[in-house]
């Protein structure tokens, strides 16, 4: 039941060409250490699924800028210039979804179902004609579930079974992705034995988690970014 692994072991399971979900909205929730290990091991032709591309030079932007990513399924690239340029040059395929639709596609996969109906963007260019269906006089968009082979997750706290707690706005996509991927790799700097987290505080129950990597401490990447501070 002990799911602790070394970071090398855990990331080495990801083959080239894998579809990998990555938690995080901006910095909070981004598993920087797992991403850095994926950068070091160098698996290529990856498809990444993440809310955003992080900022230039940090998080998954490193993997993209290093040419390890063929396709990014996302909602927003913010002001990440290198990634926007790679998209415009055709060096990176980008698939955009409305943010809550991407979340719900992932949640749906995590719930073991296959799709849902929505009306978001129904009159916009992001919806393909074949996605539209009519039912009892109403038009709907068919949205299919989005799963993945792997998910990389940062948790504020984890136990050896894989029960997870998130902190602040670092929750975002993480509990959804932890349910939707076949193989869930978690990093945490706060690790304990079973029972160290009260059952009522568990956000992601242990059985969704496959590997827990214990970080000796959080690096500067997890700290405050000076350019976002209002003085």
């Amino acid at each position: 039941m002990n799911k602790q692994q070394t970071i090398e072991q855990a990331i080495a399971q990801i083959p080239a060409g894998a579809v990998v979900m990555v938690g995080g909205f901006g910095c909070p929730g981004t598993p920087f250490c797992l991403i850095n290990e994926l950068l070091r091991q160098g698996q290529r032709n990856l498809t990444l699924i993440k809310n955003d591309a992080n900022e230039s030079g940090i998080g998954i932007s490193k993997l993209i800028e290093n040419g390890q990513v063929d396709k990014l399924i996302t909602t927003h690239l913010g002001l990440n210039k290198p990634v926007i340029e790679m998209m415009n040059d055709g060096r990176l395929e980008v698939q955009f979804h409305p943010q809550g639709i991407l979340a719900e596609k992932i949640r749906t996969a995590g719930a073991g179902t296959f799709g849902f109906l929505s009306d978001i963007g129904i009159d916009s260019e992001i919806i393909q004609p074949e996605q539209i269906m009519e039912w009892q006089g109403q038009r709907y968009v068919v949205e299919m579930a989005q799963k993945a082979e792997f998910a990389l997750i940062h948790a504020a706290q984890a136990d050896s079974y894989g029960n997870l707690v998130y902190q602040g706005s670092a929750m975002n996509f993480s509990p959804l992705m932890a349910m939707a991927a076949d193989n869930v790799i978690v990093e945490t700097s706060c690790f304990g034995t079973p029972g160290s987290i009260h059952p009522s505080r568990v956000h992601t129950p242990s059985i969704f988690v496959n590997a827990v990597v214990v970080l000796p401490q959080l690096s500067n990447e997890y700290g405050v970014l000076d350019h976002h501070v209002r003085y």
Partner: protein, 215 residues
């Protein structure tokens, strides 16, 4: 006062006690700094926070707590954190009262374009489509003209739309305008511009009522 400050300060007056409000990336997120401290409102940030308050003092910033624009925030008493599916369930279920949002273009029929400039700039959709389509009241905060001096308030949007007929009110540094069934009605204008000048810098057809307030 700068144009930007004038827009933000005016926008803050739109928020009423008890409102649940989403503030979009750009000008709207700055509105939180202009709210009276005792005003009981819940600011929603789509990355999973209800009850957003301004950044705490620099030495106690929590790097795991930001708004959707990446600003460090705090939360007011009674706030909550949740995942992205719950966050957008709130939006799609119509639990928000008001969204303030930026625009590349907005038109006199209340159509909004703010996600894509084909061939030039397409950073993505983010939460904009769901917010625009599902919040009962949408207020656009934008400069009246773009950097080249062209009106951003149009007869008809030319860029790909975020959502159709979704905007209720437009606040710029020059004017406050309402989208009505009759067209775009001028409600307030800045003291330093005449109605003739305002009409000349606005591509949309402006309906001028007998009484126009001062912005």
């Amino acid at each position: 006062m700068s144009d930007i400050n004038r827009i933000i300060e005016r926008a803050a007056q739109e928020i009423r006690p008890g409102n649940v409000v989403n503030l979009g990336i750009g000008l709207p997120t700055q509105v939180v700094h202009y709210l009276p401290e005792n005003l009981e409102v819940l600011i929603h940030s789509e990355n999973g926070v209800l009850g957003v308050a301004g950044q705490p003092s620099v030495d106690v910033i929590d790097p795991f707590l930001i708004d959707s624009a990446g600003n460090y925030i705090s939360t007011r008493p009674g706030g909550s954190y949740f995942d992205s599916a719950v966050s957008f369930a709130m939006i799609r279920r119509g639990k928000l009262d008001l969204t303030m949002i930026g625009a590349f273009e907005v038109d006199q029929a209340g159509n909004l374009a703010n996600w894509k400039i084909p061939g030039k700039f397409s950073p993505g959709i983010g939460g904009a489509m769901e917010l625009a389509q599902k919040t009962p009241r949408i207020i656009v905060l934008t400069t009246h003209c773009d950097k080249k001096g062209n009106s951003k308030i149009l007869r008809q949007c030319r860029l790909p739309l975020t959502a159709k007929h979704c905007v209720s009110r437009i606040i710029t540094e020059k004017a406050v305008m309402d989208v009505t069934e009759h067209g775009l009605v001028l409600r307030e204008k800045a003291a330093d511009i005449s109605i003739e000048e305002l009409i000349s810098i606005t591509e949309a057809e402006l309906i001028i009522p007998d009484e126009v307030g001062v912005l």
